[in-house]
Amino acid sequence: MPYFQTSEKFEEVLGGFFKLMGETPVIADKLLKSKLIIRFRYTDPDLVMVIDCSGDKIDVRPNDTDTKAIVEMSMSSDIAHKFWFGKINLTKALTRREMIAKGPIPKVLKLLPAIKPSYNMYPKYLDENGYEQYNILKAYKPVAPA
């Protein structure tokens, strides 16, 4: 069973976290410097999310399929969720096609050091915003659909 049962819940949790990252200078400054527009395509449950770093603040846009992205990352929602705990072996994810990256890979790799602080932020964010049940560092209990 996937960690998230509905697209709406996944959007609420992940979208909120992306917004938090956008308001955290140690991460946001470097993301803005990249000027990247990244589209994430998640499956199971499905969700499209655009992170636009091309302006003077980070814009998170769920369900944006129109904007021309520079980089497009495709993965399951479970892989995405685990990624933000720092629990994904990127080499493994890419070689086994658990993640597909379209666009200038060096630009994406350059962002990895910048987002490292987020790995500690994510579990804390989940705990502080009523999403403790999704914190896989604690005993994870799947949430049944409403």
Binding site: V71, M99, I100, P104, I105, K110
Partner: protein, 391 residues
């Protein structure tokens, strides 16, 4: 300690023999097609190496449908598109690439367009975007450095947008890598030295990197031994077929190693230096390698010590820290010998890097994707002193 995960995938057939580049029939018969297009560059064509391979193909009954010998120093997007167009128009069924990294990268990327059509950047740039095999690609390296004949990567420069595009896919792995020392005999001493240091850096960074596995270690270990024992000889005497052959095999094994286990801060510093000051990649790696190993010392010394034996260092009764320092000292020695032969600069100042540019190099290095795989966390303030040492 075993890695949590690793994958080893190396379907490229490797053939080694002096003169084998003119006798490809056994390999091509297995592939089962007749019409090949040759991709190369002007210097290689001017040296007669393209003609040599072409004559061998024709004598064996294969058809050479055309040649593209305009690959530039950096494989560039427009060149790749032109090359792919010519391959397609010629009616070829497969490609033979003869050259160094840029030629091989051009051939790999052109093969995507030749095989699949579409828009190279929009449809295929990135990682794992291909879903099926490409047309056959045979690679004959004329340098011993990049290892591109056995890697799943093609780097292409987009001049309009001033950025390097990466294509990373298992389907980019060539079908056959032909290692023929005769094809590298004409490589000048400076290029032999810098490409050789590139191969040494690939193997050493792969061996101590965070994504290393027992299998990538085996390839890196043998590569290091071959390169350490033969690089100076190949630079000293370009006609030394034995040394040239060992360097080709070493570079190939280093390529197999690092395409699986990645590289680290030495490449990070070299990429930053190359981007800022257009320094050739092998030269920059040659300058930074010992300093990068020193930077990582506390994290890697136990593993680095294992390289004492293949590097010809007497390991009996010595502790790991002593041996690891001796390994780094050996790298310094090899560089010095190459420098004495006027084949490799030792310091950043020797290649015109300004002292006030070092901070920018440090900043570029820590933001390079390779920092993700470096054994020690890369921070500007901790890395800068090592770049200053290299200055």
């Amino acid at each position: 300690m075993l890695p949590e995960f690793f994958e080893f995938h190396n379907p490229t057939k490797v053939v080694y023999e002096t003169g084998v580049a003119t006798d490809l029939k056994p390999e091509l018969d297995i592939i089962g097609i007749e019409k090949y297009f040759i991709v190369s560059d002007k210097p290689i064509a001017d040296l007669g190496l393209v003609r040599k391979v072409e004559d061998g193909l024709v004598e064996s009954g294969f058809i050479v449908t055309g040649k593209y010998t305009e690959v530039t120093q950096d494989a560039d997007l427009e060149g790749v598109k032109r090359c792919a167009g010519q391959i397609k128009a010629s009616g070829a069924q497969g490609i033979i690439a003869i050259g160094g990294g840029s030629v091989i990268d051009t051939a790999k990327a052109a093969n995507i367009l030749f095989s699949k059509g579409g828009d190279l950047v929009e449809d295929y740039s990135g990682a794992q975007t291909l879903t099926s095999r490409l047309n056959p690609l045979i690679v004959i390296p004329t340098t011993a450095g990049t290892g591109s004949e056995v890697t799943m990567v093609s780097m292409v420069y987009d001049r309009d947008n001033k950025e390097k595009l990466a294509f990373v896919d298992k389907y980019l792995l060539p079908d056959v890598a032909v290692l023929d020392p005769e094809m590298t005999l004409s490589l000048p001493p400076k290029l032999t030295a810098s490409t050789g240091m590139d191969a040494l850096t690939h193997s050493m960074e792969a061996f101590v990197g965070t994504a290393a596995s027992p299998i990538s270690d085996a390839f890196a270990y043998c590569a290091i031994e071959l390169i350490i024992k033969n690089l100076v000889a190949a630079v000293q005497n370009g006609d030394d077929v034995e040394a040239r052959g060992a360097m080709l095999i070493g570079s190939c094994m280093a390529g197999i190693s690092f395409t699986h286990s990645m590289v680290g801060c030495v490449h990070g510093m070299a990429h930053a230096t190359g981007a800022l000051y257009r320094v050739p990649h092998g030269v920059a790696n040659g300058i930074y390698l010992p300093y990068g190993l020193e930077y990582n010392f506390e994290e890697i010394y136990e593993k680095l010590a294992k390289l004492a034996s293949p590097m010809g260092i007497d390991a009996s009764g010595k502790d790991d820290k002593f041996l690891a320092r001796a390994v780094i000292e050996k790298v310094f020695e090899v560089r010095k010998e190459l420098n004495k032969l006027d084949a490799l600069p030792l310091r950043l100042r020797d290649i015109g890097i300004p002292k006030d540019g070092l901070e920018a190099i440090a900043e570029g290095a820590i933001n390079d994707g390779t920092s993700f795989y470096n054994p020690r966390e890369m921070e500007e303030e901790t890395l800068l002193p090592y770049i200053q040492k290299a200055y």
